[in-house]
């Protein structure tokens, strides 16, 4: 389990992370979404001790971060940080020598999966291959906690699928995973929880199904004038276009739909919303950015 409580990080006069509180239960995959500069990477840095938070607390399985935490924590950075002059095999040797739980057979299996040649120098690898190597370094110990910053960046669609499958497998085996990605489809497929950051703060978080349920929209068409629907219990936002009204039902779509029917709507339907819709709603700031 990853528990983040009131995490705050300020760089001079920029509040990079603003009181982030987030809990990722054991065995769950949490997707951290946000626009560039939203504070995702800084949050990760604070989690891993790369940056000192000004306030807040981070706990992994109930304990604060210590060097020993990294025996069961794997991290994939936003940009692979490899030694261009070392071979793929030498990178894995670093892990073998420094991680008691290194699983050599699994690492070899991963090399084959990603079609990486152990003799090739990291500097000669493509961007996608470098990402794959960074991923192998992180997961070759079969960590119980994984933190991944854009883990599929630079990979082709086939390899992206492989990475997602690996993450899903890890989560199925009980690993707790926190990953960020700009590719919402990846999060949608792999994550069961989502947190969306804006301006350093988490503006939406929760189980993906719950969030989807809460975000469902009810669309109703009236032959006559549209009645006052804003007063309906559960309605948080109303958009009208001609004789059609769309209301955000805040998790109460069936009840709101029934109420709209009772108010004389000739057609009522409940619309599911995609994660992308949720994300765009959450980061929407009226077009000021």
């Amino acid at each position: 389990m990853i528990s983040i409580s009131g995490l705050t990080k300020r760089y001079r006069d920029v509040l990079a992370v603003d009181g982030v509180t987030l809990e990722v239960p054991a065995g769950s995959v949490c997707g951290l979404l946000g626009r560039n500069g939203a504070g995702k990477t800084t949050t990760f840095k604070c989690l891993l001790g790369f940056a000192r938070p000004d306030a807040g607390e981070v706990r992994f399985d109930g304990a604060p971060l210590t060097p020993q935490t990294f025996e069961h924590l794997g991290y994939v950075p936003e940009r692979p940080e490899l030694y261009s002059w070392l071979t793929v095999a030498q990178h894995l040797e670093i892990v073998r020598r420094s991680q008691p739980k290194y699983d050599e057979a699994f690492a070899k299996e991963l090399l084959a999966t990603f079609r990486l040649d152990g003799r090739k120098k990291a500097g000669k690898l493509s961007k996608g291959q470098q990402t794959a190597l960074a991923l192998i370094i992180a997961i070759a110990t079969r960590p119980s906690i994984l933190i991944l910053d854009e883990p599929a960046s630079g990979l082709d669609p086939v390899m992206q699928r492989v990475v997602l499958d690996l993450l899903i497998d890890a989560a199925t085996s009980g690993a707790t995973i926190l990953l960020s990605s700009h590719q919402i489809g990846q999060i949608d497929r792999a994550a069961d929880r989502v947190a969306i950051m804006r301006d350093g703060a988490i503006v939406v978080s929760g189980g993906l199904d719950d969030l989807r349920e809460a975000a469902r929209i009810v669309e109703a068409t009236f032959d006559t004038a549209i009645p006052d629907v804003a007063a309906i219990d559960g309605v948080t936002r109303v958009e009208t276009a001609g004789t059609t009204v769309r209301v955000h039902a805040n998790g109460r779509a069936p009840a709101v739909a029934a109420r709209l029917g009772a108010l004389g709507a000739t057609g009522v339907r409940v619309l599911d919303r995609s994660l992308e819709d949720l994300f765009l709603d959450a980061v929407d700031d009226g077009g000021n950015r």
Binding site: G49, F50, V76, P80, E81, W85, S98, I137
Partner: protein
């Protein structure tokens, strides 16, 4: 994690050793083909001058490995995610570097002895084991101090270790070169003070033990090691507590 530094050191020592070997082979070839560039004379010199001159071997190696820890500033995802305390990782890097510098020093010493033997002037040196041992301690200490100062400054400026290591040569040579220049008093005092953090200033005139600093040799030996240890402790502290 010191595995990376071992690989880095191995690479440095390979190329450094190769250059020294070429130097020996060129000297041998020159003598073999009858064109020795050095002629025997009647003058003698202390063998300790060779011992202390090998400092430059250690300094050359120190220049290449001195920025090793600093180079890891761009690889925190690998280095800082190991289940070891950061300062323990740093000290292990330093241990590898110190051994590398000692090897570099020894290789230079062997090379100079080989070259002087090949050109036939080795018997013109006078040998004093105690004096040579003192100069060895001083030379090794000065090389380590050089390394430690590079590490300390590089720890303050992540990503610029190579530049700092290269500039250290110019800085240390200039500091002792201008120490007697007729600068105004405050500047002169500053330059004089800077001599105390210049490893070359602790060596003195080679072979004759005439110090550039008004300190007895045992004091200078103690100081180069003390400065090296303090500088290394500082660089470890800076490296392990900085933010990525």
């Amino acid at each position: 994690m010191e595995y990376v530094e071992i690989l880095r050191a191995r690479r440095v020592l390979f190329w450094y050793g190769l250059v020294l070997l070429v130097q020996v082979l060129i000297t041998a070839a020159t003598v073999f083909f009858g064109h020795p560039s050095v002629h025997r004379g009647n003058s003698t010199a202390h063998f300790s001058s060779i011992v202390v001159a090998a400092l430059f071997g250690g300094a050359i190696v120190a220049t290449f490995v001195g920025a090793g820890l600093n180079a890891e500033s761009g690889r925190t995802a690998i280095v800082w995610t190991r289940p070891k305390a950061r300062d323990a990782i740093a000290w292990r890097y330093i241990a590898v570097d110190v051994v590398t510098i000692l090897i570099g020093y020894a290789l230079m010493l062997v090379t100079v002895v080989a070259v002087t033997a090949i050109i036939g002037i080795l018997d013109q040196f006078t040998y004093d084991v105690a004096q040579s041992a003192r100069f060895l301690a001083l030379g090794v200490g000065a090389a380590l101090m050089w390394y430690a100062l590079i590490s300390l400054v590089a720890a303050r400026l992540p990503g610029r270790g190579g530049l700092i290591a290269g500039l250290s040569w110019a800085a240390f040579i200039v500091i002792i070169a201008v120490r007697e220049a007729p600068f105004p008093l405050p500047l002169h005092a500053l330059i004089y003070a800077l001599n105390y953090i210049d490893p070359l200033a602790y060596i003195g005139a080679t072979g004759t033990d005439q110090p550039l600093l008004p300190l007895a040799q045992p004091v200078r030996i103690a100081m180069v090691y003390a400065i090296a240890i303090v500088a290394l402790a500082g660089s470890v502290r800076l490296w392990s507590t900085r933010e990525a």
